[in-house]
């Protein structure tokens, strides 16, 4: 099982380039696709889900170009878009039943699967209520259930935890980890903690380009020995931010405890910290931005 993204670019009308020669090769596991808003994550997700076609490059599913034969991937695909609608007059069972029929499940298998999925996403008690009465978080869980209807080999979830409460969010992360065994799961998000919790592989995307790809340890290694905690008076925080990459702050009695990513200690008394994925993510983004700015200046 293999998904290959070969030099994929996407240019929208008005010459907006959402993706630039994006390359990636995926095998079973959970890929955490991280990137800031507008980085091109959703465009990439839509291309992989065969909703949008790339302007150039190709995507291969087990060697088959999905642009020429989209059904190859669609038949094994579970897709949870960032924004999706529901039919408000249907209840959860009917809505999932409808999508199961569209996906080609036979009636008996669909019935059994829907019962299991509604239990899994904790909607069994609300299964017979019209979807129009569901809250945003409940709709999101219906979306998660529909993505799993056909037991997908490729599961693409785009910003899936938005609208979920913390408990549901943890449960969804666990579910993704469970599902990862024999399938490729792509989790697109800008929430680093979601990726930290489940991803076996991380790809960082910014300005439509792949910045870095590898196991989390690779990203972390990049900031090893470069994360510091310094305590500064509140009034000096702005100046610190101008000079260094500050990944987190906390106000305490003795001043502001700032978490700083820097090659050397940002000021006397700085304490070295164990780097987190968020530090690595922010550092990689900052490096990409300064690289892009330097390139633009040249």
């Amino acid at each position: 099982m293999k998904l290959e993204i070969e030099n994929v670019s996407k240019t929208y009308r008005g010459n907006t380039q959402a993706l630039r020669s994006f390359r990636l090769e995926l095998e079973p596991g959970v890929l955490g696709l991280l990137g800031p808003n507008g980085a091109g994550k959703s465009t990439l997700m839509r291309i992989l889900a065969t909703i949008t076609q790339p302007s150039s490059g190709r995507v291969l599913w087990n060697g088959t170009d999905i642009e020429h034969d989209p059904d190859t991937v669609r038949s094994v695909l579970g897709y949870l878009p960032q924004d999706f609608g529901i039919y408000p007059n249907l209840n959860a069972v009917e809505f999932l039943g409808y999508l199961a029929a569209v996906k080609g499940l036979d009636a008996a298998s669909a019935r059994k699967r829907i019962v299991e999925l509604l239990e899994l996403v904790n909607l069994a008690d609300a299964a017979k209520r019209p979807l129009g009465e569901f809250s945003g978080g409940m709709r999101q869980r219906v979306g998660i259930a529909q993505a799993l209807l056909n037991d997908p080999k490729l599961l693409i979830v785009d910003e899936p935890t938005g609208g979920l409460d913390p408990e549901e969010r943890v449960r969804f992360r666990n579910l993704l980890s469970e599902l990862a065994g024999e399938r490729i799961v792509i989790l697109s998000t800008h929430i680093v903690s979601d990726v930290e919790a489940v991803a076996t592989d991380i790809a960082l995307i910014a300005q439509g380009q792949l910045v870095v790809h590898g196991v989390p340890e690779v990203l972390l290694a990049g900031v090893h020995g470069k994360v510091w905690e310094v305590v500064v008076p509140s009034g000096e925080l702005a100046a610190l931010r101008q000079r260094h990459l500050v990944s987190n702050t906390a106000h305490r009695n003795d001043g502001v405890h700032a978490r700083v990513v820097a090659v050397s200690a940002p000021r006397p008394g700085a304490r070295a910290l164990e780097p987190s994925l968020e530090d690595a993510y922010l550092a990689a983004l900052a490096a990409q931005r300064s690289g892009a700015a330097a390139q633009a200046a040249v």
Binding site: A49, D83, Y87, N89, V102, E116, N122, D125
Partner: protein, 531 residues
């Protein structure tokens, strides 16, 4: 002053959002087509078999009445989404959280509606100038005579249309398909109102004023003219009454005030709309809809209950998903067809089925002519909202990405949706079909079958191409009014009014159905390719 600035800002933003869409080009193309149709005589103002010389006054009155009549009908469907767009995009809730008043918001939207309609009027006024210059029947150009009908007939009528569209949007039950269908009847009623009441003041379109000015003049100015005044869509030749130079409506102060009064009525309608407008409060929408006869409080309670029920703690990881065997993913088309049918019919109350069932039984019981005539006509307009969702449902509810990422949508879901629509037509009109078969009327049965296939094809094509159901609702009800209801041969897709030409027209409708399905298929396949 501040309030005016707010109204202007709301109207301007909405107008810009609309005119920067491709659909606005189609709107302008429609206006240009109307001008072309008026210029080439496809739509004409007639005095029996005659028309007057194309003076500025005649051309101005003719094109302004064409504009008033057709743009007020079609324009309503074009502009009836100003509030809905804010509801769908979520902008409405943001605006509702500001000090913006309901009156300011709706006046802004009214301005935008009006501006869109006026842009069509301007295109047609320019067309009127071109018609007079190109026809060159009267080389004296009087801008005032040509443009006054646009100012005093068309603009107040456009204000009324803009306000009515807004009023319909503020009532939950008029927001959707029912409102679209109702508008057609209201529009027809409005056009015929002065004729029905004999009161020329009740003339939103101005057509009666032209009648009162033109017909007496024609009686003295056209030898042989007896009676007759119509705005006609016809290819029948018309005779030019060479000596008849109509000078136009006399724009007395009384006439001008009576026309401007319609603009005032439009303003009052907007104020009424602001009274009923829910200001994007979903609790009010639900309470007003009465769909499930629950109060807003009960709705909130239900949501809270649902949330708490669904939030009960349980160990998700103890639930195992049974792996699916690959064969379970290749079920037959029948299941999908049934699913599409269930989806199409979901949400209708018992009385909807009771009326459909009553019409079906009546088709079996009534004499054949009644069964295949008025009863079949009624049976085939009753499910209009079932058909109008075809092809548009995915865009309306935002489920495209869920569906379009599934395998074999074109060979499976697309025909299943179409067949579900055809089945609804077949079942609701089954009585007439059985009666035709029993009477051995093969041609009638063929026409019935053509109708069964034509209706969902038209719905699917318009739905897929426009992404909205209102164009089918507007067009179908107009076609139904002209054809099955008023029995104009050729327009009657049920076949009952087509007499000896039944087979010929049935074959034409079959051909049109195939073309429409092809057009829908082409568009959907493009959508699936993300283009």
């Amino acid at each position: 002053m501040k309030a005016l600035r707010v109204v202007h800002a709301i109207g301007r933003a909405d107008f810009l959002e609309r005119v920067r869409r491709y659909s606005y080009l189609i709107t302008l193309l429609f206006a240009i087509y109307l001008g072309y149709a008026a210029g080439t005589g496809r739509i004409s103002l007639r005095l029996g078999d005659y028309r007057g010389v194309y003076t500025s006054a005649w051309v101005g009155a003719m094109v302004s009445l064409v504009t008033t009549t057709f743009v007020s009908l079609v324009g309503f469907y074009i502009v009836k989404n100003a509030v809905e767009r804010d509801r769908q995009t979520g902008l409405g809730e943001i605006l509702a959280a500001t000090p913006l008043t309901k009156v300011s918001y709706l006046l802004g939207k009214f301005l935008s509606n009006f501006a869109v309609l006026v842009s069509m009027v301007v295109a047609l006024a320019l067309a009127a100038v071109a018609i007079q210059l190109l026809a060159a029947e009267d080389r004296t150009f009087h801008p005032r005579a040509l443009l006054s009908p646009f100012v005093f007939f068309t603009l107040p009528a456009m204000a009324m249309t803009a306000a009515m569209a807004l009023l319909f949007e503020t009532f939950n039950f008029l927001r959707g398909g029912f409102g679209n269908v109702l508008w057609f009847f209201l529009w027809s009623f409005g056009i015929g109102l002065p004729g029905l009441t004999g009161l020329s003041q009740l003339d939103p379109s101005g057509i009666w004023m032209v009648y009162e000015s033109m017909v007496p003049a024609a009686r003295t100015g056209i030898p042989g003219y007896k009676d007759g005044f119509s705005l006609t869509v016809a290819d029948k030749a018309v005779r030019v009454a060479g000596g008849f130079h109509w000078n136009g409506v006399e724009w007395t102060t009384e006439v001008v005030i009576s026309r401007l009064a319609w603009a005032a009525v439009a303003f009052v309608l907007v104020l009424c709309a602001s009274f009923f407008f829910d200001r994007f409060d979903p609790a009010i929408s639900r309470r007003k809809s009465g769909a499930r006869a629950r109060s807003a409080g009960a709705a909130t309670q239900a949501e809270v209950a649902l949330e708490s029920a669904s939030a009960r703690p349980h160990n998700a990881m103890s639930i195992r998903l049974t792996p699916l065997a690959s064969r379970t993913l290749h079920s037959g088309a029948l299941g999908l067809w049934a699913a599409e049918l269930r989806l199409a019919l979901k949400g209708y109350r018992w009385w909807w089925y009771a009326v459909a069932g009553g019409l079906l039984i009546a088709q079996f019981a009534a004499p054949l002519d009644i069964s295949r005539g008025p009863l079949l006509a009624l049976a085939w307009v009753w499910p209009i909202l079932v058909w109008s969702a075809l092809g548009a449902r995915e865009a309306r509810f935002g489920t495209e990405q869920l569906l379009f990422s599934c395998a074999r949508i074109l060979p499976r879901q697309f025909p299943a949706a179409w067949l579900a629509g055809a089945l609804v037509a077949a079942i609701t009109g089954l009585g007439a079909a059985v009666r035709l078969a029993l009477a051995g009327q093969g041609a009638g049965l063929l026409a019935w079958g053509a109708g069964v296939l034509f209706i969902p094809s038209l719905a699917l094509a318009l739905g897929v191409w426009s992404g909205t159901s209102k164009f089918f609702e507007g067009l179908y009800i107009a076609l139904w009014y002209v054809g099955p209801l008023n029995r104009v041969p050729g327009f009657d897709f049920t076949g009952s009014a087509n007499g000896l030409q039944t087979t010929r027209f049935a074959l034409k409708y079959l051909g049109v159905a195939v073309t429409l399905v092809g057009a829908a298929f082409f568009r959907r396949s493009r959508q699936l390719r993300g283009t």
